[in-house]
Each structure stands twice: as structure tokens, then as C-alpha cells.
């Protein structure tokens, strides 16, 4: 067991972890932050995507100790009470979420993209989300939602 100190969505945590624990296991099983999902545990589906010190990572293949002294943002950290983040709003409004299981990872991947590239083209959105699988939507409304969110965040409409 080793001591892991990390910040998640603004709160500081100190947990003891086994050396082979993943960040996803710490978030879900230790901290009960459940928006990152277990979809594959092999880094293929992206349902566990979170932002670690500004970088999008798949928490199921990220060793927990890599997050020591760092800051993690999950979907829970995006909205304030009664106020959705524009990406969340757009996903809701444009039907980008059906069963919802991939949605937390999708939104975090979208946020990572828009943080670095506030004005992405369709092709850039596709590339940025290509590591996140969705079986329900055919991605059409997801791509649309990211575009609309970008517009809104840039002060349009």
C-alpha cells in the first residue's frame, strides 16, 4: 500500500492504494466518483476518460500513482449547482446522449479538445473523439453538440 495524494474536482484526497491500482479504481471504488465508467479496462472504449492536469487520459489504463500530487477533473467537476457547462447543455439539447453510458467520457474528451482548440473543425472533433466509443448515437449528434458548444463558448448566439 502506498499513499496517494490527489485533487479531484477541487477537493483534496489522501488514499492508500496498491501499486497496481488504476486511477479509475481509485475514483470509483475508493472515492465513489462514478461518472467515469468501466467499459473495457483496456483503454479501448473511453468511457473512463478524465482530465489529469489538463490532459485527457483513460483512467482505466492510468496507474493511480501517476496522479500523485496532480489534479483530476471528472464530469462531476464540470457543472455548478443549477448551471451546466455549455458542453453539457449542448449534449442534452442536441440528443448527443442516448443510453448515457459513454457520455461522461465523451464530454471530458470534448472538454479537453475545446480547452486546447476553441474552434475545431468537424474533422478535428472527429479525431479528438475517435478514442471514445458510442454504440447508440452513431456520433452524429455528438459531433453536432461539440460544434454548438464551441460556438456558445466563443460568445456566439
Amino acid at each position: 500500500m502506498q499513499e496517494l495524494n490527489l485533487k479531484v474536482n477541487g477537493a483534496t484526497y489522501s488514499v492508500s492504494v496498491k501499486a497496481d491500482m488504476t486511477l479509475l479504481e481509485v475514483l470509483r471504488d475508493k472515492l465513489h466518483i462514478t461518472s467515469p465508467k468501466v467499459g473495457c479496462n483496456t483503454g479501448d472504449c473511453g468511457a473512463c476518460s478524465v482530465i489529469l492536469d489538463g490532459q485527457l487520459v483513460k483512467s482505466c489504463i492510468t496507474n493511480a500513482l501517476m496522479a500523485d500530487g496532480k489534479e483530476v477533473v471528472t464530469l462531476e467537476g464540470l457543472s455548478k449547482p443549477g448551471k451546466l457547462h455549455p458542453i453539457q447543455e449542448a449534449f442534452h439539447q442536441y440528443g448527443a446522449s442516448q443510453c448515457g453510458f459513454c457520455t461522461p467520457g465523451m464530454i471530458m474528451a470534448s472538454k479537453a479538445l475545446l480547452d486546447q482548440n476553441p474552434n475545431p473543425t468537424d474533422e478535428e472533433i472527429r479525431e479528438a473523439l475517435s478514442g471514445n466509443l458510442c454504440r447508440c448515437t452513431g456520433y452524429v449528434n455528438i459531433i453536432k453538440a461539440v460544434k454548438e458548444a464551441a460556438k456558445k463558448m466563443n460568445g456566439g448566439e
Binding site: C45, A47, Q93
Partner: protein, 429 residues
């Protein structure tokens, strides 16, 4: 203000976009035991010895269960929770463990001693159908429909139809095995209560189809099982079989503790139900004017090892083998053959997806052979209002022609006036 017809965002959408929707795996109840399963490494064989004693002694293990722990050992027709003796597919569940954590559960699984007398598996439906083939199931390798080992739906006189035809086209098609691949794998959480009742949190896409089956396995009345779910991370037909629920329920009853089992993606891909492969042969008799006057279709579903939804898929395929066309003379035969593979069950399109594919490629071949425009060929054969399907039904709504017209218009294809003025509710010329 009326809402029907409006773009109302999803009722549960705010939960999805804030990450607060609770799927089964998101329920954390203190003291929950973790379940893992022992699965068969062979496709066919007999269990000679299954010794769980070492696993049971491992500190942290609360219970190990096998076939002898199941009050009524069959669901989805004839699928045992654990086989008593006969192993019928690779990946079949043989035993399950509940332990304080995943590592302990996995270690316990590795301590279960098993001896299997391996038998030669049958994979190929053609082999399985041969007379004298080893029987995978006690009543034979072909699914029985009453006295027959095939299902059929006929209309008219197919021999007379072929005589009337100017030419005949016969081809074979194959539709592969598919996995539903919902993003959420099978997960189950069973919580026991002091009065002997259970709450089972499930990924089932059909609570009421499953509650009867699960209560039967557990030999419990409905009043002792509150089945909780209906927030499912994708289904596509892959969550129409009980999968994990009987196991967590049995372990929860045995240990008196909540038990959770989340399948790995590998288990989801290799051990959950699939859409079985379909082999299809279509023989159509066609007149030079473009009318199909006879169709004979013979289809075989590779059903895998157990019944599950196979009878339904086999019959449904027979009902929809013609496509949205009127063919006066039809003979359809469908079969389900059992093989030593994971059971085939429901998947989006359920028996119909494979025949839609085969029929529409076949239609295209005939159109090309006739030198006729593919739109025209489909439209002159399309079902009209008042015409029966080959099952003998008169559908209440017929719009194949109109859908083709809309498609042509939308895709910028200019169809001749005689096709654009055709109507489903006008009689066939």
C-alpha cells in the same frame, strides 16, 4: 401546448450529461462482496470432478457455488446456470465465487480444481445436421417445431410459380456472428433482506420477461424479488438473457451479503449471447417483365448451445423472408441448428436483419440480370394495400413505394413519371 411531435430533450438527459445517472455498477453498498466466475476452457466435454474445497478455505471467500446450489437449474428454456455435467460451449460458466474483493475472488477461482473429459465439439451446422452426428442436446441437434425439425410459412403454389417464370436465380448468402457491444457490460448487484427477499439491480432490458425466469431459478415468489433496473447502458438485444443475475442472487442468498458481478469486456465479447450466423439460400422465379412469381428460401441459424431466443428468431425470419414485396408463390423453410458455441439470442433486427441483407442483395442481382433500374424493379414488386404478406396477413399500413420515391427525391435521383406517380393504395397493373 402539445408535446407529441416536439423535439423534447431526454427526460433522463440531465442525469446523463452531469454523470449522476446511476447504472447498476454505480451502486456502492457497504460490505458488498465481489463475484467472479469460472468458465469452461473447452467447447464440449463432461465434468468429471469439480472440487471447490480449496477455494472455499481461502480467507476472504464467502461462498462458492456450482450446479448443486441452484434450486431450478434452467433459464431461457434450457440454459443451466451451471451445467451439472455436460459442457456445451467454451466460456460456459461452471462455478462462481463471492469474496471480499476482486483479487481474492480471482485467486479463489484459480484454486477450483476441475477435471473435464473433453469431447469433440461440433461447430459446423452442416456437420451437426448430418444423420448420426453426435448429439449436442438430448433431443437432437435441430430445434423442433412440434413434429418437425424446421419451421415454414408458405403461400400459393411455388412449383407452379417456377414453371411460369422466364428465369430462375438461386444464390447463397451468409450473415456473420455479431456481438451487441453495449458500452455497459453485464452487471448485476443482488442485495438480500432479513425476510428472505432480494433486491436485484439488473442491466436487463426486459424486467418482466426476466422476473419470471429468475424467480423460477430461485424458486421464489415474485413478492420476494424486487427487480430494479430500467437504466441500461445500451442493450441492442444483448440484455434479453439473464446472464449475471441468477449468480449474484444465489450468492447473496447464500452469504446474506450484497454481491456484485461486473463482466469483463472479454466475457461480454466471448460469453454473452450473440446474433448467431445465418446461412441463407434464395431461389427466385422471375418473369421478363420484372415480376417475381415464385420464391423459395431456406435458411439455417447457427443457434449455439441452448434455446434462448432461437425459436423466436427462427420463426420471425420465416415471417419476414419475402421483404416488402408481393410474391404470389412462396415457400420458406427455416431451421435452427445447435452447435458447441455460445448461444445465439436476440439482437437488434432479430432474425430479420440477415434476411433483409440477403433479400436485398438478391433483388439487386435480379434487377441487374433484367437490365432494369433497381428502383423500378423494387417498386413494381412492392407490396400494395390489400395484398397479403406470405404469412397471410393484410398489413394495416403499406408504404414501400412511397419510401422509394422519397429516397429517390432526397438523393437527387430522377425517376420516370410512371414511377413517381405509382401508389401503394392503387392496384397492381
Amino acid at each position: 401546448m402539445t408535446l407529441v411531435g416536439e423535439r423534447v430533450p431526454k427526460y433522463d438527459g440531465l442525469g446523463h450529461v452531469t454523470g449522476t445517472t446511476m447504472y447498476v455498477d454505480d451502486h456502492y453498498i457497504p460490505g458488498t462482496l465481489i463475484c467472479k466466475g469460472l468458465r469452461s476452457p473447452v467447447s464440449r466435454g463432461k465434468i468429471k470432478r469439480l472440487d471447490t474445497s480449496l477455494a472455499e478455505k481461502l480467507p476472504g471467500v464467502a461462498a462458492v457455488i456450482t450446479a448443486k446450489d441452484v434450486p431450478f437449474n434452467a433459464y431461457a428454456g434450457d440454459w443451466p446456470v451451471f451445467p451439472e455435467e455436460d459442457i456445451c460451449f467454451k466460456g460456459q460458466l461452471l462455478a462462481a465465487v463471492a469474496a471480499v474483493d476482486e483479487d481474492t475472488a480471482l485467486e479463489a477461482i484459480s484454486l477450483i480444481k476441475i477435471e473435464i473429459e473433453e469431447e469433440t465439439p461440433i461447430f459446423d451446422v452442416r456437420e451437426a445436421m448430418k444423420p448420426g452426428a453426435p448429439k449436442i442436446r438430448p433431443d437432437g441437434n435441430l430445434l423442433k417445431f412440434g413434429e418437425r425439425d424446421y419451421y415454414f410459412t408458405n403461400q400459393g403454389d411455388v412449383e407452379a410459380g417456377f414453371k411460369e417464370a422466364d428465369f430462375v436465380l438461386e444464390e447463397e448468402y451468409f450473415y456473420p456472428v455479431a456481438e451487441h457491444t453495449p458500452m455497459e457490460p453485464q452487471v448485476s448487484l443482488a442485495v438480500p433482506h432479513p425476510n428472505g427477499s432480494l433486491t436485484v439491480y439488473t442491466t436487463s432490458q426486459c424486467l418482466y420477461f426476466h422476473i419470471g425466469q429468475l424467480c423460477a431459478v430461485l424458486k421464489l415468489p415474485f413478492s420476494k424479488l424486487n427487480y430494479v433496473g430500467a437504466t441500461v447502458g445500451g442493450g441492442f438485444g444483448g440484455k434479453n438473457d439473464l446472464h449475471a443475475d441468477p449468480v449474484t442472487a444465489l450468492l447473496a442468498l447464500k452469504t446474506g451479503k450484497p454481491v456484485k458481478w461486473r463482466w469483463t469486456r472479454e466475457e461480454e465479447l466471448n460469453c454473452s449471447t450473440v446474433r448467431g450466423a445465418w446461412l441463407m439460400r434464395i431461389k427466385d422465379g422471375v418473369k421478363n417483365n420484372g415480376r417475381i412469381v415464385a420464391r423459395e428460401m431456406e435458411s439455417t441459424l447457427d443457434g449455439g448451445a441452448y434455446l434462448s431466443f432461437n425459436p423466436y428468431a427462427t420463426t420471425k425470419h420465416a415471417y419476414y423472408a419475402v421483404g416488402p414485396y408481393y410474391i404470389p408463390n412462396v415457400r420458406v423453410i427455416t431451421r435452427c441448428v445447435f452447435t458447441n458455441k455460445v448461444p445465439s439470442s436476440s439482437m437488434r433486427g432479430f432474425g430479420v436483419t440477415p434476411c433483409s441483407y440477403a433479400v436485398e442483395v438478391h433483388m439487386e442481382k435480379i434487377a441487374r440480370k433484367l437490365g432494369m433500374d433497381p428502383f423500378e424493379f423494387r417498386m413494381i414488386n412492392a407490396l400494395r394495400k390489400g395484398e397479403p404478406t406470405h404469412t397471410g396477413s393484410i398489413p394495416d399500413s403499406v408504404a414501400a413505394i412511397e419510401v422509394m420515391q422519397k429516397l429517390a427525391e432526397s438523393a437527387g435521383i430522377k425517376l420516370p413519371d410512371k414511377l413517381m406517380s405509382m401508389k401503394s393504395d392503387e392496384r397492381r397493373l
